[in-house]
Symmetry: C2
Subunit: 215 residues, 2 copies
Amino acid sequence: MKLFSYFRSSASFRVRIALSLKGLGYDYIPVHLVKDGGQQFGTEYRALNPAALVPVLQEDDGRVLTQSLAIIEYLEETRPQPPLLPADAAGRARVRSIALSIACEIHPLNNLRVLGYLSKTLGVTDEQKNAWYRHWVETGLEAVEAMLAGDARTGVYCHGDAPTMADVLLVPQIFNAKRFNCRLDHVPTVMRIHQQCLTLPAFAGSVPAEQPDAE
Amino acid sequence: MKLFSYFRSSASFRVRIALSLKGLGYDYIPVHLVKDGGQQFGTEYRALNPAALVPVLQEDDGRVLTQSLAIIEYLEETRPQPPLLPADAAGRARVRSIALSIACEIHPLNNLRVLGYLSKTLGVTDEQKNAWYRHWVETGLEAVEAMLAGDARTGVYCHGDAPTMADVLLVPQIFNAKRFNCRLDHVPTVMRIHQQCLTLPAFAGSVPAEQPDAE
């Protein structure tokens, strides 16, 4: 398999963790989101993914998968061991709900193109842009904390005592939060789980600094 | 089942469509996102969903489901007929990728609280706010159009000749786009499928104007 990835992209980071948790090797193909005006906009890459986003996972038979959560669900269906979703429907719904709370409520507001629009088109100051970033991370993680802290199904990880798709989404979001100096002392359960995840090689080896294109 | 819904919320709209496509009846519990400073922030509702978002689906045994895509996946697992995902893993990945392109790349930038932040905290003009809205819808739908128009698996609907989760996400997004007068002539495949979906009672009966709390 080939993973088209950018070291700092948290969507790429999610898929790197999922691949590693499942013990799957892959060729790392770097796509630089800033250099050359954004390599994801190149003709060759757009032929692979017209949405011009990373990551893309390409199977050895040429099959192309896009959107990090769809890729992770695909891996779960095609390489079920170890599972990243619990066995029961209610548990699966909870794990997906935590994952989507990050993927839909926090991350989309803070990606590169949105921050670019704020600066270039709306002309906000750097201070306002950073406040925007922190606002969505801090309030979004507060909601995740409430989901975790108030539920007996939370264990060593977000759901029970093995990592799931929820943890796979959580860790990259915390890396982003730290990069922008977000407040994190109001989400102790989130942070306990984050630290726990980083004791696992699948998480620790997938962090941005460990990637071949890290700067 | 009870569905806690706001007529205009497109996340609620998605779940209404999925329930109807599966022929499932439900009690409609309105949650007004604007009145009373936002009924989703009330103590009772927050006990149900600490994230203070609609929709919530509650099973008759009290089980609470949150996040529209997690709810739809849950319905798919617990009430598999008729299916909203194809049978093959690659097809499922494609449908989820289209759905997530809407749920993660377009919709989060344009919900009520984000527009509120732009106006109140960043002090942008109404004109700037509407341009922001249209920018993310128009560029986001362009990516969806490319996924649909360039793929032989696109049929009468987004994937083949029966509605899937991708169509369930598409239609509410087009309703939003129309409300804000977004340009749509550059996405002919999207619009053909949108019109096709509205010929089905499950879609037509789930539109905002048909809900008990419609204004």
